[in-house]
């Protein structure tokens, strides 16, 4: 998957977790947890969605590397096929 496909995947995963959020207005460097009001349950659901969509099972130790849209795309870009 290329970067733009990954961005689509990340946004789709976020849309599942925070259906009311306006993701078109989401900046690449905005902290996701604060901006979208994600609690730990939401974040786990987000990670599970990423797994489904990209095949990357992000280990718990790497959750911190998914802090923003740009960070998540970069992280997945290095691992998704």
């Amino acid at each position: 998957m290329n970067a733009s496909e990954l961005e689509v995947a990340v946004k789709a995963a976020l849309a599942r977790v925070a259906p009311e959020a306006d993701l078109d207005a989401l900046g690449p460097e905005v902290p996701l947890r604060d901006e979208l009001d994600l609690d730990s349950m939401d974040f786990l659901a987000f990670v599970a969605e990423l797994h489904t969509r990209t095949g990357v099972a992000v280990p718990e130790a790497d959750y911190g590397k998914l802090g923003t849209l740009a960070a998540a795309v970069a992280y997945l870009g290095a691992r998704a096929r």
């Binding site: 009311e20 786990l44 280990p59």
Partner: protein
């Protein structure tokens, strides 16, 4: 003969408004069938029936607001089985606890089969603006209608022709009898319900508060090892493990689990953990993880996920809303370290879970860094004393310190 009654969905619910019937006299109904829609301060509820038979009469019209427990329909039982008969005449619980025994209800699912999909916020807005959800062009994820879609649809309609707004009433006409209240009213109603329950709690319940900070390192290490080999969808959050610990510790101190009814404590054998869940867009519900002490951590995690999802998108059952025996509130995600809670009447206690943080920790004469969490108890002093409350926190500390036994 069975009576369908307005169900109680918690001590703060006094009335419910019947919004719509999905049955008519003469219809045959089956156990678990959705027969109508009820609106409460907690939102729209799909009303299920738990008696089989033929609808004999609908006793209230859509738009009617009735007190909890009011018979709203009569069903002639065809099964005539003793079990069914027993259900029909099941005693009405004391007003304070008041789950309506013969009735179970569900919060309306986001997308009933065949119906247009929409987020809960969008559905609510559509209802308020009188927009038909099916007529809205969805742009949301998975073909769902979003709030913005509804707003667009409403704006477009208003822009086209005011006459299209409705066929009958003029623009200045009051809302039709039984029309859903506007959002502000609903918010105000929910606030009033919370105000009534919390004021009653502080007026009637002599709270005492205890808190202790405990070492959660072993718990986190245990969960970390458990989760390492698992796909994300099967991972367990610390909250689920802590809920398991709370349920087990409550078994050790039953005075904290149950209800205060008619001037005495009525402990519950079952532990139904009410989990405070904040709703996206505001509001709070505390549906129950039922029989939490009998379920392992993986099961509780699965059920917790399911409960949170249904609390936010619809599908809560009345049993989940009406019979939690204790409430747990977890504000750790918001960075809160210590919760001093207000008991939800007529329950006997509220357990608070704080944020898991790293702190210097001295043990056995050695100083180290540990992940710690502050757990708290607000309990009804009429039903228990600080000594027993302390026993509960000690039991919880033991459970969380031996995660392999959870």
């Amino acid at each position: 003969m069975a009576e369908l009654r307005m169900p109680s969905l918690g001590a703060d619910m006094e009335t419910g408004t019947l919004r719509a019937w999905k049955i008519a006299p003469g219809d045959r109904v089956a156990r678990g069938q959705v027969v109508g829609e009820v609106e409460t301060d907690k939102g729209l509820i799909d009303l299920e029936i738990w008696d089989e038979g033929v609808v004999e009469a609908l006793l209230v019209a859509p738009g009617t607001k009735v007190p909890v427990g009011t018979p709203i329909a009569r069903v002639r039982s065809t099964a005539a089985a003793p079990a069914s008969a027993t259900q029909a005449v099941a005693p009405v619980a004391p007003a304070a606890a008041a789950p309506a025994p013969a009735v179970e209800a569900r919060v309306a699912p986001v997308a009933p089969r065949g119906a247009p999909k929409g987020t809960p916020a969008a559905r609510q807005l559509a209802r308020e603006l009188g927009v038909e959800l099916a007529a809205v062009t969805p742009t949301g994820p998975h073909g769902a209608v979003s709030r913005a879609d509804v707003e667009r649809a409403a704006a477009g309609r208003a822009g086209r022709a005011p006459a299209a707004l409705d066929s009958g009433a003029g623009p200045a006409a009051p809302p039709p009898e039984g029309a859903p209240p506007p959002a502000a009213d609903r918010q105000a109603a929910m606030r009033r319900a919370i105000a009534a329950a919390m004021a009653r709690s502080k007026r009637e319940i002599p709270h005492y508060y205890l808190a202790t900070t405990l070492d959660a390192s072993k718990l986190l290490a245990w969960l970390g090892a458990k989760n390492a080999d698992r796909p994300p969808a099967e991972r367990v959050l610390p909250a689920a493990a802590m809920l398991r610990g709370v349920a087990l510790a409550l078994r050790a101190v039953p005075e904290l689990n149950g209800f205060w009814i008619d001037d005495h404590a009525v402990p519950s054998r079952a532990v139904h953990l009410g989990v405070a869940i904040s709703l996206r867009g505001g509001g709070l519900v505390a549906p129950a993880l039922r029989d939490a002490a009998d379920k392992d951590v993986d099961t509780l995690m699965r059920e917790l996920k399911d409960l949170v999802a249904r609390a936010r998108t619809g599908g809560l059952r009345s049993s989940e809303l009406s019979d939690p025996t204790v409430t747990v509130t977890n504000l750790g995600d918001l960075g809160v370290e210590l919760v001093l809670g207000v008991i939800y009447p007529p329950q006997l206690a509220l357990v608070g879970l704080g944020k898991i943080v790293e702190r210097p920790w001295a043990e056995g004469g050695l100083l180290g860094v540990r992940s710690v969490v502050t757990v708290s108890l607000a309990a009804d002093h009429r039903a228990s004393d600080g000594h027993r409350g302390a026993r509960f926190l000690a039991a919880l500390e033991h459970e969380l310190g031996h995660p392999e036994e959870l």
